[in-house]
Symmetry: C2
Subunit: 291 residues, 2 copies
């Protein structure tokens, strides 16, 4: 259990203090935290809660939303990500997960205002990707100043329009390439990348470049949930071959925490203690033997 | 309108005869047909219906489902695809669209029986892809004999588990590479490929290799429909930049039909004549100017 980390999104309905206690009692050494739980507790108190329990923060979720085309949206994204970098440093983690944002036409999650879908460029995915590269470049010195790593998260292509124009690990590595691996990394999240025909070579490349900042595991359930964000499941409940993907990650020498981050209404509706028990059991059976 | 082709899946609730009449009356020159509509009419009658109306068949949908791991499932897939090749030839089209099938663990659409998800290999996507390559290799001589092209369709990665372990255009081109371009081609379907960071280079490669057998257009709607298969929309209703993708395809010199294939419950519930009117109008505004 020395590498398992419970991400607070998996136990959405409990406080950070409760998730920390639960993790510590279960013998875990790490916890992956979301910013909303940190804000709720207060940043300094959140940092104390975690360290007092003897845990370390495996990653902070999440910065990003960098695709706004307007000046105000871009300034807001830089301010928010600067704050996230400070939060990561305060919590004692180097790894700030970045969900880069979607198309301006898709509105909410771009870091800027909703844009008329028929406006020029509102659906221009190449331009949105370029803006992500530009914002990353601006954030790198801030991250370096705080000794934090911007961890690019390729999201499953079904979220390309509304959440992340970054869809593959290879694309994330290309985006990271101009920057030191200590400052820009990538996360391998099984849910998002399992389908990728280039997965093995991209994981090898990520390892060789020293950019694997986090390994996150959960399953790809079918049918896709009514809210597509909630299609994630316990390892073993869906269609991902965890042995295959875990071996690819292990072969790179990755020795960091393995986070379990599941968005799933039925799991959220269950008692957190039983959720963690299932997470541990599935991890022991399906992931740990292949690390 | 000389290149627009109505795919019969867009007007799911009318017969082939009705779709043919509607297309001819609307001044179209092509029609994309599904095998269920052909079977309903009878193969020879279907061929006569189309040719009597002065139309040509732009593609036959669909062969494939090649991922079964068992002998019986593989034999059944070869028999069914041989039949589909004969049907394409009889209908006077060279282009047989192939949806390659999903993981054995996902059951129905592999061309074989449902497999226990915990059975060895049931979630092995690499092995499933190898079986696709093996079956294509066996089908190539049959396709050559009937002067038909096997047209590999990369499906959106959200269908990788249950419908197609072929997820990108680049992967389709790699799979096609051992075979002549007259016998194995690819389809560019905007819904499936718009998100791909390698889209432009893959379309260029497909064009340079002479493998673009079909260009299919429809939009990526959000939210994803309860049945994820039905998330397609009229061009302009979702998030795809049709100018960008169409220009990429046009730049290769592709001069063939442009099929509109939309699975969408609300469109299926509308009168076919009004559906075709909307298809024509969206095509004229969003696609045709960039061809």
């Amino acid at each position: 259990m020395s590498r398992l980390s419970l991400n607070t999104a998996t136990t959405k309905n409990i406080t950070l203090a409760e998730a920390v206690s639960l993790s510590a009692e279960a013998g875990l050494q790490h916890i992956g935290v979301w910013r909303d739980r940190v804000a709720e507790a207060g940043l300094d108190k959140a940092a104390r809660l975690v360290s007092d329990a003897g845990l370390s923060v495996s990653s902070l979720c999440r910065g990003g939303f960098l695709t706004a085309a307007d000046d105000a949206g871009q300034a807001a994204a830089l301010a928010d990500n600067t704050q996230a970098i400070v939060e990561a440093a305060t919590l004692g983690t180097r790894e700030l997960i970045m969900v880069v944002g979607g198309l301006p036409a898709a509105g909410l999650l771009t870091g800027g205002p909703a844009v008329d879908p028929s406006a020029p460029g509102a659906k221009d995915v190449a331009a949105a990707r370029q803006r992500v590269a530009d914002r990353i470049s601006e954030l790198v010195p801030v991250a370096q100043e705080h000794d934090v790593r911007l961890v690019l998260e390729p999201l499953h292509p079904m979220y390309a329009a509304d959440r992340a124009v970054l869809s593959t690990l290879g694309q994330a590595l290309d985006l990271a390439a101009p920057f030191p691996s200590a400052t820009v990394g990538v996360v391998v999240d099984t849910f998002h990348v399992w389908w990728d025909p280039a997965l093995e070579s991209s994981i090898q490349r990520a390892g060789a470049e020293g950019r694997i900042a986090s390994y996150q595991v959960c399953d790809w359930n079918l049918p896709i949930a009514a809210d597509a964000l909630l299609s994630r499941g316990y390892m073993g409940d869906g269609y991902i071959d965890f042995e295959a993907v875990t071996r690819m990650v292990a072969a790179t020498g990755y020795a960091g925490p393995v986070e379990v981050e599941i968005f799933n209404q039925s799991i959220w509706d269950s008692a957190a203690s039983s959720v963690l028990a299932t997470v541990k059991s599935r991890y022991e059976t399906l992931v740990e033997p292949h690390l």
